[in-house]
């Protein structure tokens, strides 16, 4: 009980902190390149951003001895780490490509599909699928977590629900 109370107090403090940052953002510095190129990466305007907590809901359930720990949550981005037996296995993330439309390019020529969505490699350690505007990516943190494991975990995401988020 005491532990729970402690945790609640910490939670409240963290929420207050988090809200303070959102309420009073520092001025944004744009690079000239970002403001002049049509498809240039850009921060998502707050009114258009999909909250990280909305994206969290599309993550798969942990299982088969794997543990899922959420590690980062920002507007338009959510990330978790997958570990097994205390050892890191992979990073899983969802990002809103509205912030970086160029990320969609690699899926245009994709020959492979996962659960019906186009899939592409992201370097040698990552595999991604595009569910409408959302990129879902799995990245190996250990050699034992293979490309087949990445594809299997991508298929476990709630991709259809994610694709439906406007």
């Amino acid at each position: 009980m005491k532990k729970l109370l402690i945790v609640i107090v910490l939670l409240i403090g963290a929420v207050v902190a988090w809200r303070m940052f959102r309420r009073a953002p520092e001025p944004v510095r744009h690079t000239p390149a970002a403001s002049t190129l049509p498809d240039a990466p850009k921060p998502i305007p707050q009114r258009e951003a999909i909250s990280g907590s909305t994206l969290n809901k599309a993550f798969p359930e942990a299982g088969d001895g794997y543990k899922l720990t959420f590690t980062q949550e920002k507007d338009g981005f959510a990330q978790a780490e997958l570990s097994k037996g205390g050892a890191k296995a992979a990073t899983l993330s969802i990002s809103d490509t509205a912030a970086n439309p160029a990320a969609r390019d690699k899926f245009k020529t994709a020959s492979r599909r996962i659960e019906g969505y186009p899939a592409a490699a992201v370097g040698s350690m990552g595999t991604a699928v595009l569910a409408e505007r959302y990129q879902v990516q799995a990245r190996s943190l250990a050699p034992a977590f293979t490309e087949a494991d990445r594809e299997a975990w991508l298929a476990k995401f709630k991709l259809a629900e994610l694709a439906a988020i406007k």
Binding site: H30, P41, G52, Q72, K74, T91, S93, S95, R139
Partner: protein, 291 residues
């Protein structure tokens, strides 16, 4: 912020007292910390990718995210820098000659003013509260449940864990002794604001502490009670063990541990050093997910 994250990472030192002391803590908490310096190098370490084109793509995206101050990465680094600046009275320059050799605390005694226990607990409380704010600033508020959030904080590893070990060892265990957590919690529960208002670190930190600062510090620190109290046991850290390792770097007497702690505070920038590494890791792991 005048420097971008790649410049900050590229200019991190590979030696000097800060790195030596963090390395010493890594002997105590083995295998947790590598002194990763250089932004492109960090991209390779974090992503496991070595292809220059891929590294460049991650770098470009990371810098866009960094430049957007509302994303919180700049704020996190500035919190770490603020904490280090307060006690930078001696600074790296004065200790430059100590690189790679032992030095004596006694040659600095006239320049070091140790904290009384009470002031030391205030400093420790402020560093822990600042760490909470910097974590949320860099990583948002991960997960949907209380359990998710606590998992993220208590699963600290690598740079985050070594920084937490440094805070609790250099600002808790060494100056306050093995019962530092009890002293800290007793002090924090008795805060009425006057101890904080008179504290130099608080004057610098209250600009970024959210809400009502005194209440925030109290809530943040007491909520970490079990984590802070159990930290040394769970990582097998003892005062004798730490002091044994420290003797390889500095000459000191056992009745001058408050001076030793003050000297470490005044001559290192371990918050900034590991903070830049932590923020880079968060930024890079997000950037690779977004390209």
């Amino acid at each position: 912020m005048s420097q971008s994250i790649d410049q900050l990472m590229d200019s991190l030192s590979t030696g000097g007292l800060t790195v030596r002391l963090l390395g010493l803590l890594d002997l105590v908490v083995p295998g947790q910390w590598q002194n990763v310096t250089g932004f492109d190098n960090a991209i390779q370490v974090v992503t496991g990718e070595t292809d220059p084109g891929m590294v460049a793509q991650v770098r470009d995206r990371a810098l866009v995210l960094w430049d957007d101050a509302s994303q919180g990465y700049q704020r996190a680094v500035s919190i770490y820098q603020t904490i280090d600046k307060v006690d930078a009275a001696i600074g790296a320059a004065a200790l430059a000659h100590t690189i790679g050799e032992r030095f004596s605390l006694f040659s600095f005694l006239d320049r070091v003013t140790p904290n009384q226990d009470k002031a030391q607990t205030v400093d420790l409380a402020l560093k822990l509260a600042s760490e909470c704010v910097a974590f949320c600033s860099a990583n948002g508020f991960p997960g949907d449940s209380i359990g998710d959030f606590v998992s993220a904080v208590t699963s600290y590893e690598k740079e985050n864990l070594i920084r937490m070990a440094a805070i609790l060892t250099f600002n808790g265990l060494i100056p306050l002794g093995p019962d530092y957590a009890v002293k800290l919690m007793d002090a924090v529960r008795g805060f009425d604001g006057s101890e904080l208002e008179g504290n130099r670190l608080f004057q610098m930190a209250k600009g970024f502490l959210p809400g009502e600062p005194v209440r925030f510090v109290t809530n943040a620190v007491t909520s970490l009670e079990s984590y802070v109290g159990g930290f040394m046991d769970s990582h097998g850290i003892t005062l004798d063990g730490v002091l044994g390792h420290l003797r390889g770097v500095v000459d000191f007497a056992d009745d001058k541990l408050d001076y030793l702690a003050a000297l470490i505070d005044m001559s290192t920038d371990y918050m900034t050093h590991t903070g830049v590494q932590s923020v880079s890791r968060s930024l890079i792991s997000r950037a690779v997910g977004e390209i």
